[in-house]
């Protein structure tokens, strides 16, 4: 695309031409090159496919597309072959030639690359039949596998920028805002504030210029949905932003992205350049007279810069410190001008609302939370990956039906939602539908959609200590309750896990938590006590076991556990003595071994290696 598209009609004809030029029956190899799959070494597989196709003179006959993340990161590298959507997983980097020769040229299925459903033991041939995908509603994220993120043509061929054309040529700004309000799109970045109302306030605010910002400072440990959207479908995010800017009356936008997301920054930079060249960004967009451009600002990696006022400070070139928000950003945000900030996933939902209408959008989800939500499902789970489901989907479905349950037949203990300052949800709430309000009710939150699954081997006090420690390192240090209070909470939690907990610690933690929630300046401090409060609420017995009985029920806290060997079960195979780094586990071949407590560092290597379940941790 080198010439500017001058009207919506011209856009439509280009879309039609591109669509017509693509034969849906033509064989096409699609490979995920999201960051997760790239980490498996997928680039080599891509190079091999290209070389093998060229060698066979098949580059014209067989399509080949690299795409962003498909979500099933657990099973990468992944190859999907159109038109039948044959799904190969854990593909070897040298498997390219075999896939071309057998599957594409002869139509044979390579059994060893098929996914095996652990529930039934059956092999699954087609992508749509994989249980992980089957039970999702991949509205926003599903487009990732249909486009090469570096190709504007790909995006246009699936109808991309139709919503923008519709909004710019057929809708008044107020009508667009009303549509977003009616759809009840709520911010996907954490707060869940209705996006339409925010747009409306910014539009009505006094002040010029007005800014729209895309918050891509995703910083929750283990969360990568925004990253994968920006990497995999940057034009979708951009389209949402341009529509928002038109509705709000803004001519300048920013994308505040983490510098640790190099691929996301590369792809969105390219997308912006392509959109400018195509007349979809810049001056006189689609010949309508509307001007809007976007700049990218790379963040330095401070978690707190995801907080709106700290993000503005950082964007302005100052240290990322929040300020009190008694005057809303919609009135005085970036450079004290009216500013509308939404996160990546929120912007990505906008084109769907405009294209298919608020009524359709609002038909998905629950009474208070509409549409779908992408969750980052990680931790003790079989199918690690990104999952998109309608709001209101039961946690049990996410963890067991889509996530495939807990590895090794272990027992589910809790799921942590909402990032580091979210809460841990116990088994009794697994049948709860996940939406903004339900999660808040039980002491957790939606956050940006992180989900960390924990099993019986996780100590909940240790989990609370871990997340609290993360927040200690990420506090900006401006206000006292967050800077000093959260650190003192972490110290008390560390004491408890080290067997130095005192009577009254739990009550003190609760008292501190209440004062920190009331006293902190920003949302980071206000929510920092959540991991402590939710684990006390649902796992108080574990705290008491640590403090009163100096015992860690999950066998995690090193100061409170001892390793020994059950002489009845030990066969004297000597494996533990081989893996033990300190020589603590020792014994004669074919005789029961023993662990020297003075030498044992409680690293757990013996337990992991033992095939006879003979290592006792108490």
């Amino acid at each position: 695309m080198t010439t500017k598209i001058k009207s919506f009609d011209e856009l439509k004809s280009i879309q039609e031409r591109l669509k017509a030029g693509r034969d849906p029956k033509k064989p096409c190899i699609t490979i995920c090159v999201g960051t997760g799959c790239l980490a498996y070494g997928t680039q080599k597989l891509v190079d091999n496919f290209r070389a093998e196709l060229a060698k066979r003179n098949l580059t014209e006959k067989i399509g080949f597309r690299t795409t962003g993340c498909h979500g099933f990161c657990e099973r990468g590298p992944m190859v999907v072959i159109a038109p039948d959507k044959i799904f190969y997983q854990r593909v070897g980097l040298e498997d390219a030639a075999e896939i071309i020769d057998k599957t594409l040229l002869k139509g044979e299925i390579i059994e060893r690359l098929l996914y095996v459903d652990p529930a039934t033991g059956q092999k699954v041939t087609r992508e749509d039949d994989v249980p992980f995908y089957k039970k999702q509603t991949r509205l926003v994220f599903g487009l990732n596998s249909k486009v090469d993120p570096e190709s504007l043509d790909d995006y246009l061929a699936i109808g991309g920028y139709t919503a923008l054309g519709k909004a710019l040529t057929g809708m008044k700004p107020e009508a667009i805002i009303q549509e977003v309000i009616k759809a009840n799109l709520r911010g996907r970045g954490g707060g869940g504030f209705p996006a339409g109302w925010k747009w409306d306030s910014t539009r009505k605010a006094q002040g010029d210029p007005k800014y729209v910002i895309c918050n891509a400072d995703e910083g929750d440990p283990g969360a990568y949905m925004d990253r994968s959207l920006l990497e995999g479908n940057p034009h979708l995010v951009l389209e949402g932003m341009i529509i928002g800017a038109f509705a709000i009356g803004s001519s300048q936008g920013y994308i505040y992205a983490r510098n640790e997301y190099p691929l996301a920054i590369k792809n969105i930079t390219l997308a912006i350049e392509q959109a400018r060249q195509a007349g979809l960004l810049g001056e006189n967009i689609l010949g309508t007279g509307f001007n809007f451009d976007v700049k990218i600002n790379r963040g330095g990696g401070a978690f707190v810069c995801g907080e709106s006022s700290a993000l503005f400070a950082s964007l302005e070139g100052r240290a990322g410190e929040p300020r009190a928000k008694y005057i809303h950003a919609t009135d005085k945000g970036l450079y004290d001008k009216p500013t509308n900030l939404n996160n990546v996933e929120t912007w990505a939902n906008v084109p769907f609302i405009i294209d298919r209408g608020a009524d359709w959008y609002a038909s998905i989800g629950t009474a208070g939370s509409k549409g779908t939500k992408i969750f980052s499902l990680v931790g003790k789970i079989n199918n690690t990956g990104l999952v998109e489901v309608p709001m209101g989907t039961k946690l049990r479905e996410i963890v067991f039906d889509i996530g495939g349950g807990i590895p090794g037949g272990k027992k589910f203990k809790a799921i942590q939602t909402g990032g580091p300052s979210g809460g841990c949800i116990p088994e009794q709430y697994l049948d709860m539908g996940v939406d903004f309000d339900e999660l808040t009710k039980i002491g957790s939150m939606m956050g940006s959609g992180g989900m960390i699954v924990m099993d019986e081997d996780n100590c909940m006090v240790d989990v609370a200590r871990y997340f609290t420690n993360f927040l200690v390192s990420e506090s900006c240090g401006k206000c006292v309750p967050c800077r000093e209070g959260v650190r003192r909470m972490r110290d008390i939690l560390a004491d408890i896990t080290e067997g130095k907990g005192q009577e009254g610690d739990v009550e003190l933690l609760e008292k501190m938590a209440a004062a920190i929630i009331d006293g902190s300046l920003c949302a980071l401090g206000n929510s920092a006590p959540n991991p402590v409060l939710s684990t006390i609420r649902y796992f108080r017995d574990e705290y008491e076991a640590h403090i009163k009985h100096k015992r860690c029920p999950a066998g995690v806290c090193k100061a409170l556990i001892l390793y020994s060997i059950d002489p009845e079960k030990c066969t004297g195979c000597t494996l533990c003595s081989k893996v033990c780094p300190t020589g603590a586990a020792a014994g004669e071949r074919k005789k029961a071994h023993a662990i020297d407590k003075a030498l044992c560092t409680k690293c757990g290597a013996c337990r992991e290696s033992c095939k006879f379940d003979a290592i006792i941790v108490r």
């Binding site: 401070a302 707190v304 240290a319 300020r323 009190a324 008694y326 200690v472 390192s473 990420e474 506090s475 900006c476 240090g477 401006k478 206000c479 006292v480 309750p481 800077r483 000093e484 209070g485 650190r487 003192r488 110290d491 008390i492 005192q502 009254g504 610690d505 003190l508 008292k511 501190m512 209440a514 004062a515 920190i516 009331d518 006293g519 902190s520 300046l521």
Partner: protein, 239 residues
């Protein structure tokens, strides 16, 4: 004008004023650790928290930043407020056990140190109220000091903790420092002073001969105002 209630007292205040300003004008004491009339409020110390009720909604706000509004009901000593203030002061006492100012405030407010918080051992008296940094930037206009690191590692220092090139030795930071953390040493004769690692030569008054200001400070004032240094070389008493 707006009508509001603070601690059951009906008060009329000007729109745009903060709760802290109005309270002080009306003899209602709200403790603060980072507030100074010469500076814009920062909201960092959290001692000035109050509970406000507006319509049906009750919440804790920062009185140095929150503006008065018609019908606002303010409680400066509610249970929640006192609990938050108590924690803030206990946390600062543990951070700076040697600060006299904090100990006095704790005694005044009847707050005991929390025995579960092990006092920090680094002898720092800095409570990170930010008054020095704000004064240097906004009042003096120099920006010789700022913050480095974040969270509990945060500290006030010169860029890269090197001797400051831009510092003019005015000592305003040491003057506003409420805890005595920033030290400024002056020689017996008063001919030089040391602050932020640098020694500043002092200028003597043309009239009385007393050393009264660092030469660098007079040069800075001369540059920003256009008044020749020579005209500035008279101390306040002799002007």
């Amino acid at each position: 004008m707006v009508n509001l209630t603070i601690d059951n007292k009906k008060i009329e205040a000007e729109a745009g004023q903060t709760i802290l300003e109005v309270s002080r004008e009306n003899g209602i004491v709200i403790p603060t650790l980072c507030s100074n009339e010469a500076l814009e409020p920062s909201g960092a110390c959290r001692m000035c928290l109050v509970e406000v009720k507006h319509g049906k909604r009750t919440r804790i706000v920062t009185s140095c930043l929150y503006q008065v509004a018609e019908g606002l009901i303010v409680d400066t000593k509610s249970e929640r407020v006192l609990a938050a203030r108590r924690l803030v002061l206990q946390l600062l006492l543990a951070r700076c056990p040697e600060s006299k100012q904090l100990r006095e405030m704790a005694e005044e407010l009847g707050i005991q140190p929390e025995p579960r918080f092990t006092p920090d051992q680094d002898k720092s008296k800095c409570i990170l109220c930010r008054m020095c940094v704000r004064t240097c930037e906004k009042v003096v206009g120099v920006c010789a000091i700022g913050f480095s690191y974040r969270g509990s590692e945060k500290n006030v220092c010169t860029p890269f903790q090197e001797d400051s090139v831009s510092c003019i030795g005015c000592g305003a930071c040491a003057y506003v420092c409420p805890s005595g953390h920033i030290e400024m040493e002056t020689t017996e004769t008063g001919d030089s002073r040391k602050i932020w690692g640098r020694t500043f030569k002092m200028k003597s008054c043309k009239v009385c001969g007393r050393y009264f200001a660092p030469e660098d400070q007079l040069k800075f004032i001369s540059t920003t105002t256009g008044v020749p240094v020579d005209d500035l070389a008279v101390c306040i008493s002799c002007r």
